[in-house]
Amino acid sequence: MEVFLQTLANGVMASLTLALIAIGLCLIFGILSIINFAHGEFYMLGGFGVWWFLEAHPIFAGMPALVGYIIAILISMVVVAVIGMIVEKWIFRPVREPHETVMIVSLGVMLFLQAAALVAFGPVDKSVSSPFAGLVQLGTVSFSNERLAAIIGCIIFIAILYVIIDRTRMGKAMRAVAMDSEAAEVQGIKTGMIFSVAMGVSCAIAAAGGALVGPIYYINPYMAVEPIMKAFAAVILGGLGSLPGAVAGAFIIGLTETFVSTYVGAHFALIVVFLIMIGVLIVKPTGLFGHEE
Amino acid sequence: MTKYFGGLAAVNDVSLSVSEGEIVGIIGPNGAGKTTVFNLVSSVYKLTHGTVKFNNEDITNLKPHRVAAKGLVRTFQANVLFKDFTVLENILVGCQLQVETSMFMDLFNFRTVRAQREKIHAVADNIMEFVGLKNYRDELAQNLAHGHQRMLGIGIAMASHPQLIMLDEPVSGMNNEEKSEMMTLIRKIRDRGITVLLVEHDMRVVMGLCDRVAVLNFGTKIAEGVPEEIQNNASVIEAYLGADD
């Protein structure tokens, strides 16, 4: 029973971090019509960001650990968002048509960012000490505080994103562009700016995911390779255009993967995810929440 | 030759039957569901209710390439062509149903393969002459004038030697001279023994060409009959006047 609850907690955390990446993928696809293979790298850079500010160059050493950690996350998010926006404006946008070209270009960006991280930070795994020491006891089960913090952090970011998309004028503009970018342009919405904002936000939350998970697992240049594949599976499962679908998909994939990983084996878990992905595409290619074209 | 179909929300319980050698027109205001009907017959869309029968054979929801193999071919409303292929190459794709060698055999230049290529090229030449594009054989499709592009679309459809051809707005975007040329072409198609079903907005063309006309509005059939009857039909006139808002 204890193993089950522990796995459940891990699964929830994995699902939430996956959701942060998946939402970003979904936003970029919905608003910019781009399949961004490099997206996982922004997650990776977020992880390196907190390492940079907390371990390599601890400029917040004087402050309480929690404050330092939060500031490090926020700075990382901003930096990664800026990198993402630069990539979008100067690398993706000029080659948006035909669609295959921008896909290959995003693969190129993925390669570049991985290699750059390798050169800059070296291949050795990095670790970040978490400000959340200790455990929480619930009956016979104990969860580490750091995992709990990651879960809460993810939920906060998802909630903030929901508010932005659903309640603000910017969000409304983004939804308009996602539905029909030409019509939105005619209505006076500056699609260029919306593209930048969408990209920035997506990269920021991906970075947040990497930053939140950083202290729990190791940080290295290839840490995004598995998550990006699972994120794609989540988005396919949920339906390529649907944000709630992406979150739902992230949970299905995250929980399945964690449970299979614990009870059978990590390698096998990824194979299962892959089979789910193919299965969904055979049975309902538009995903659980997607609509027919 | 009879066909029945009945539909989904865009096309609600529409029944139509077309006999061999006829030219039948479908008209109606924009959004009435005319192209949807074509899409249902050629299986681009799935039928929710009803059946499509061709030559007394049920072809409902058969895969699009099989529908074509049965002898039912369509053109598209927009100028759907292989834009950077030449006219010849476009027509060659249309000829695929005439090909008998397998993919594997084509890898080698056997005598049968070569003989087949001759035959197909002859068919292609024939088609290009029929639609009047012989001089544009090696011209890229995207460089053709709009009227010629429409002709090419018809040529591609004709290349599979269909029994029934469905033309989706064949004269859209054409000037009067081109429209007359198209009407002559359609009559030539019928004279070759091919049945024609067409969707059109231009009344003069429809009345001039069609043996029978069906009128759709909001997805239902509101009238059917010979052109003169339709012209004087009250509900038809109302549908068009009403749609003019």
């Binding site: 290699a115 096998f268 995810v273 595409l281 055979i282 | 390439h65 759907v80």
Partner: protein, 321 residues
């Protein structure tokens, strides 16, 4: 127009002759090794190109190579079968795998297909690492036997020098190029090229799209399997880390850099990029970054690839007149 075709034939003849005579000029194993690599990677790149032509991006080509390599190695080691049987079998196994993956995935939107191949890349590696008994686990298969000697008349050609492997690779390369060339020149090639333009139109003309797409995908995988089998017996080992997503991506890059417009593209791309890779060996660390940048620049400013350069030059010259 006529000049073009004769020039092409002359170029092919010269290059072909130079290739065949290479070991005569230089028996340096290093040079031969690079030449072998170029030949083998060209095969892989050509396999990616034929699928790209039909409108799909395959980033799992290294996985098909890997399955070919592992299949060939395992059959030779566990069952003692001759390389000459394992080689074509490896191709067939890779092709069957492609058919299994392609049937459900080639019918839907292109983006999904790419994602599936991305997944396949990762999953393949795990399969090889998991299945110890068959694939040797994380270390891979070690001690794969080299090809057995060919006996011609009274002569026996043993595979104990790079020269022999070079000629074997050359033969495989020529076979690949020939088949790809015929495939593309035939009506199948025309049909494949029509799909990315207007597949609805092809379908309504009676063309069964899936048949052709799956065939192209399987063909590309077949040659990847052959390449893999060669690789396994040439190096006498294969490990899960030889056939990664990165490798697939490099193959794709060679195609894009060379140009997708013709058969020559992937070959030129492989030759240029592999040579560049060797020349820039001191900067090994930065290579992926440099390649990434070059790829992005090529796609932005020279999307036709290297083989489009003569055309671009010709256009520029003609415009000046």
């Amino acid at each position: 127009m006529k000049n073009n075709s004769t020039t092409k034939k002359v170029i092919i003849a010269i290059v072909g002759l130079a290739a065949i005579l290479l070991p005569v000029f230089s028996s340096d194993p290093y040079i031969l090794h690079i030449a072998i690599a170029i030949l083998i990677w060209s095969m892989l790149a050509l396999g990616i190109r034929i699928v790209l032509v039909s409108g799909h991006l395959n980033i799992a080509q290294a996985s098909f190579m890997g399955f070919g390599a592992y299949a060939s190695g395992a059959l030779a080691m566990k069952l003692g079968w001759s390389f000459w049987i394992c080689l074509p079998l490896a191709g067939v196994i890779a092709a069957i795998l492609a058919i299994i993956v392609g049937l459900p995935t080639l019918r839907i939107k292109g983006a999904y297909f790419v994602i599936i191949t991305l997944g396949l890349s990762e999953v393949s590696r795990r399969i090889w690492m998991m299945w110890d008994s068959l694939f040797g686990g994380p270390q891979g298969l070690l001690g794969i036997p080299p090809p057995d000697a060919i006996k011609l008349g009274g002569l026996a050609i043993m595979f104990n020098s790079k020269v022999h492997y070079f000629y074997l690779a050359f033969v495989l390369f020529v076979i690949t190029v020939f088949v790809m060339w015929r495939f593309e020149k035939s009506r199948t090639g025309l049909l494949l090229k029509s799909f990315p333009k207007a597949d609805m139109l092809a379908e309504s003309s009676g063309v069964y799209i899936m048949k052709y797409k799956v065939a192209a995908f399987a063909l590309g995988a077949f040659f990847a399997g052959l390449a893999g089998s060669f690789w396994a017996h040439y190096f006498t080992y294969c490990s899960p880390w030889d056939f990664t997503l990165m490798a697939s991506f490099y193959m794709l890059m060679y195609v894009v850099m060379g140009g997708t417009g013709s058969i020559a593209g992937p070959i030129v791309g492989s030759a240029v990029m592999l040579t560049l890779d060797e020349l820039l060996r001191p900067f090994k660390e930065y290579m992926p970054m440099i390649l990434g940048v070059i790829l992005i620049l090529v796609l932005r400013f020279m999307p036709g690839g290297i083989i489009s350069i003569p055309g671009l030059i010709r256009d520029a010259v003609m415009r000046k007149e």
